[in-house]
């Protein structure tokens, strides 16, 4: 609501985000037009990979914007006030401040993804796999954000960690096939950017086998389990700054 009250601020950030998406699509279009393919993908497919990345990344940012405001809560001790309230503290610090600007950019982004996806003549199975793996990607993003705030409770360092996560996940703008090993393995299994961003688009194009889908869901389950355990551990380590 505070953001809505500052209409000029809202407008400027909205314009900047729209420019970013448009510029990137222009870049990808002319890049692939000149080079014919990137890692074997044509321009429509490359743009679809980028839009799939944007869907997962922007949706995660929409839900988890509150993570960027977590450090002051820890440093000031105001996190105590959240812990004492009858609301799940993890839910509050993770999703307590959805980003209104992303709420405005998300529908056109979904529409653009739908339109570009339509140009690729998907099968029903491909579309269903895509939607399931997008949801799976959001689960992984959730797990990674939980891990970041858990680490923040222990180390008081969140801002840089979350920006490192953003930079690594930005590698998912392009199909991870462009990266060489061991970076590709790192992006698939350690910080599973490939699973979050590339696998859904590959499933859509019919390029991801059944084993890839199983690996995706398994990784999401493992990461969620570990991150929730880590959150519980971090809470036990929390020493209030104020009391």
């Amino acid at each position: 609501m505070i953001v809505l009250a500052q209409k000029k601020v809202l407008l400027i950030f909205l314009v900047a985000k729209v420019f970013r998406i448009i510029f990137y699509i222009i870049f990808l279009f002319f890049l692939v037009k000149g080079s014919q393919t990137i890692a074997g993908y044509n321009s429509t497919q490359t743009i679809f990979f980028f839009l799939s990345f944007m869907v997962v990344d922007t949706t995660a940012q929409f839900f988890f914007r509150e993570v960027y405001r977590f450090r002051p809560l820890i440093v000031s001790g105001d996190f105590d006030l959240i812990l004492t309230k009858p609301m799940n503290s993890l839910f509050r610090v993770l999703m307590g401040g959805a980003d209104v600007i992303d709420l405005i950019t998300l529908p056109p982004l979904y529409l653009a993804t739908y339109y570009v996806g339509g140009l690729l003549n998907p099968t029903l199975l491909g579309t269903l796999s895509y939607l399931l793996l997008l949801f799976n990607g959001l689960l992984l993003a959730t797990a990674l954000h939980i891990a970041v705030i858990s680490l923040g409770i222990i180390t008081l360092e969140i801002d840089n960690t979350i920006m490192i996560y953003r930079d690594i996940s930005a590698m998912g703008k392009f199909p991870v096939d462009i990266y060489k090993e061991p970076l590709k393995g790192f992006l698939t299994f350690l910080v599973p950017v490939a699973v979050m961003m590339t696998f859904p688009a590959k499933a859509f194009l019919g390029l991801l086998g059944f084993s890839g889908i199983i690996i995706s869901f398994s990784l999401a389950a493992i990461f969620m389990f570990i991150s929730l355990k880590f959150w519980n551990y971090a809470l036990k380590q929390y020493t209030s700054a104020s009391s």
Partner: protein, 267 residues
């Protein structure tokens, strides 16, 4: 002069007070370079390929050149000016016997020196790991003109930062928004720090050449690669000097009006 040397030293030392922040900033820069490197490495993986007027060694040199050029040009402290104005802290500096403009220019230079040291280390490490084909410019005059274009680019970016930082004189809440739009989004895409601008059609490049952004990163690297030579090179340097004069005049005008309108909220 002595007071600005002291500002330089203090600013340099201050960077090490927030060591983790600085290291993370450099790690982020390296990550961004890696994405661009692998993208172009894949596109040019076909032996002997030439695309957009680049060979493999020239495009990889462009990517690696970004490490240095961005450290020189785009690492700047002057975007903190917006915060000074929004919080009212600028009043403290205006009362001191110190030219506010020169103060921030000195702080910028100290930040660039530190970033350059680390950029050299990162360049060496990445060069040893990735073993990229690299184009070494051997013409001394070209190298000199490359350094001149870098110096001009630094000053252009400094002036852009000061102009954008003046927004809080009228709208204190819009300081970061203005920077996000101009120095993060517009500079990233239009300066050539994400991709060489000559992948775009000539018509789009001609439009971009009416802005100062290509002269920040793209133009200096093109000079180094020898892709802009002779009359075109001198024309480019002349245009970038004109941009300095133009931006300087705009900055002075805006700051004059801004300081008159300013009410120093928060002080």
């Amino acid at each position: 002069m002595n007071k600005y040397i002291q500002v330089f030293k203090i600013s340099f030392a201050q960077e090490f007070a927030y060591r983790l922040n600085f290291i993370m900033w450099r790690v982020r820069n390296v990550t961004q370079i890696l994405v661009v490197f692998f993208l172009w490495d894949t596109i040019f993986s076909v032996q002997g390929r030439e695309l957009f007027g680049y060979t493999r060694d020239k495009i990889i040199t462009y990517v690696f050149g970004l490490i240095f050029v961005k450290a020189f040009v785009l690492s700047a402290k002057a975007q903190d000016v917006a915060g000074d104005i929004a919080r009212g802290d600028i009043i403290n500096y205006l009362l001191k016997p110190l030219n506010y403009f020169k103060y921030w220019l000195t702080r910028d230079i100290s930040s660039k020196v530190l970033n350059l040291i680390f950029a050299s280390i990162e360049f060496s490490i990445l060069y040893l790991i990735l073993k990229p084909p690299f184009y070494f410019q051997e013409n001394l005059l070209t190298i000199l003109l490359f350094l001149v274009s870098i110096g001009i680019a630094m000053y252009i970016f400094f002036l852009i930062l000061f102009i954008v930082s003046a927004i809080p004189f009228w709208a204190p809440e819009m300081g970061w928004g203005g920077h996000f739009l101009v120095t993060v989004i517009l500079v990233e895409f239009l300066s050539g720090s994400l991709f060489p601008l000559d992948i775009l059609p000539v018509s789009l490049q001609n439009i971009l050449n009416f802005t100062p952004f290509p002269y920040l990163v793209f133009f200096p690297i093109q000079v180094y690669l020898g892709k802009i030579t002779g009359l075109l090179l001198f024309k480019g340097i002349a245009i970038s000097l004109v941009w300095i004069v133009f931006l300087w005049l705009i900055m002075n005008k805006i700051w004059e009006k801004g300081l008159k309108a300013y009410q120093a909220y928060g002080r």
